[in-house]
Amino acid sequence: MFVTITREPIDTSGLAGRVRSDADGAVILFTGVVRNHHEGRQVVALRYEAYEAMASEKLRAICASVASAYEVTDLAVAHRIGDLTIGDVSVAIAVSAPHRDAAYKASREVIERLKREVPIWKLERYADGEEAWVKGAIPEPG
């Protein structure tokens, strides 16, 4: 299991490579990417901020919980913070499993729980020069 909150660009291939073993038939790599629109407004850049120590710990707890719920071999999650631009990978989740059904379900559960539970915030910068913190989800203790 590997979890990182990082200011550096995420090496998605490296992340996927970390999780595969010879017993695995499926590896799923989910990448969240900075897109140029949100709720009808044109976005030009983002800043992510995290309560880093807790975010890492929460991500590890989510991975452990998901690993115990599904027949997966390994998980790796990287979340980038700091200033990102359109097309940058903000989050990457790699999951390996003997069979694909578990890999899909585990991948999906990690990203859904990450978005509900992990203390990370997103400041959007718009084409018109304004900026705003994205209205997020009331955090749910996992």
Binding site: Y51, M54, K115, I120, W121, W133, G136, A137, I138, P139
Partner: protein, 90 residues
């Protein structure tokens, strides 16, 4: 500070503010003293009074020492209490 000291003993906790809460409070961190036995709810009220205008929502989620905690959680000296705005990772 050990429990069971004389009345009037106070606990000192560090409050952390992130994202929109930092904007509201105008700072990322406050050291706040409260009477011993105070809970999270009391800390939140103290923080509300600190803000020039109380723009914190009615319900504020906090983490005590990096775990989400209920308003009834009793604070002890040295606790780190993070005020967690709605999260938007991913």
């Amino acid at each position: 500070m050990a429990a069971g000291e004389a009345p009037g003993t106070r606990v000192r906790v560090t409050s952390l503010f992130f994202a929109v809460y930092r904007d509201i409070l105008g700072t990322s961190e406050l050291e706040i003293e409260l009477p011993e036995g105070s809970n999270v709810k009391a800390l939140i009220e103290a923080v509300r009074k600190h803000a020039a205008v109380d723009e914190l929502p009615r319900h504020v989620v906090v983490a005590v020492n990096q775990d989400y905690a209920s308003p009834e959680t009793i604070l002890v000296d040295g606790d780190e209490v993070a005020f967690i705005p709605p999260v938007a990772g991913g």
